[in-house]
Amino acid sequence: MNFFLQQLIQGISMGALYGLIAIGYVLIYNAWGVLNFAQGDMVMIGAFAILIAHVYMGLPLLIAFPIAIIMCCIIGFLVEISAFRPLIDANNTRRLIATIGVGIFLRNLVRVIFGADPYPFPSIFGNTAVNIGELKIIPQNIWNTVIGFGLVILLSIFLKQTHIGKSMRATAQDREAARLMGINVKKNMSITFIISSALGGFAGMLICPVFFVIPTLGTLMGNKGFAGALLGGITSNPGSMIGGISLGILESFGAGYFSSSVQAGIAYAVLFLVLIFLPAGLLGKKESRKV
């Protein structure tokens, strides 16, 4: 029983990060109509941003975090205006290819600057485990979960309650009608990209004590986030969080009860199974949609 709970907690904490990445896919898919395959690379950018701010510049984490987030926002914005905005009216295939191109570009840009070697990152929240009964919980697990859920709740409050948030949803649902309301569609698209970059980057920052910081980190994490988004139904924000967490739990049980070599394959298995048996995901719209 303890082992089960231990694995569950581990899974939820990892899944919360997958959920953060997944929600970035969903936000952009809803607003832009195609998947953003550079979303995973924003996770990697986040990891390098915190590496620069904390390890290289030696800033304390409380200052390094906001700086790293701002770096992610800026890079997300630059990518949006340089690569995606010119294609706003292009067909889906071209935009999809653009996102793949941006991903390759970011990955290799970072490789040129930092090299392909992995960088270790110190623990963010300390390594002293908290004992609850017989369970040992490391602070990282608690914080991942709290921050993951916290950000998703903040995001949904932002989208549901604020004027700008509502107009972003309107823009995602019907761009032309939104323009007729006087909504600045370009600005809203930029904000959407900035928010999803920041969320992805945040996941990257939280993940770097667990993984090494390498330029290909984004491919790995991007696939997990994508699987989570698809499992949740690619159009639903809460769905993507549920999808991410489900994936995290599945992985954790896979590793715990079978072997850790199973873990890496689970995201792909989920991807295949969802595409075949549950194309609308857990909370997605049931109607057929353009890819």
Partner: protein, 254 residues
Amino acid sequence: MPILERMSNNMLKLENVFVNYANIQVLHGINIEVKAGEIVTIIGANGAGKSTTLKAISGLIPKTLNSSIKFLDEDITSLQAEKVVERGISLSPEGRRIFPDLTVTENLEMGAYLRAKDKEGVKNDMKEVFTMFPRLEERKKQSGKTLSGGEQQMLAIARALMAKPKLLMLDEPSTGLAPLIVKDIFEIIKQVNKKGTTVLLVEQNAKIALSVADRGYVLKNGNIVMEDTGKNLLKNELIRAAYLGESTYKEKKA
């Protein structure tokens, strides 16, 4: 035309407006005038360029060189859609185009997007819109996609009104609706006009459009082929033949 002289306060003036889609010219230099306080309608068959005209005015599609659109004596020819609304022109687009996953209230709030600072005014206008469309008030917490066709059309008009436009443009408000609901909607259009909003209406249902309109234009293959008062156009034999179904008319007479 005496009627033109009587109402001289020009609100909207299209001069020589050309629109191309890719290589195909859709509007061949049309001239339309709308005066403050009027209901003006543009009738015509499918593909005549009616919706294109409204889209061109609202800034959704570009116009070719030399086209001129003036609103309240200011040039708005090259303004983008989001700027045109700011000037006081609202379009209730073809196919309603309400936001399906926003609630009725949120849809109306989006209509008043540019008036965010005027919270008191928006609140009052929402009340007024709800008295005009009581059905919408009953459903204000439902999402747009759960409304019936008629309710969606009401929402589209209400949403356009929330911008407090000087000129309200309506693109085919009668499409796909039961005759009784069409009657309701045109009753409301008249009401809105009486309260001081100028209306430019595009319709395939020429009969009902001409019956509420002060003046009408007939658009055919991207050209204005006729313009007159609504009453005169309703009586015009050619119009009856082309847009109202002459045979039915003759049968009735016989």
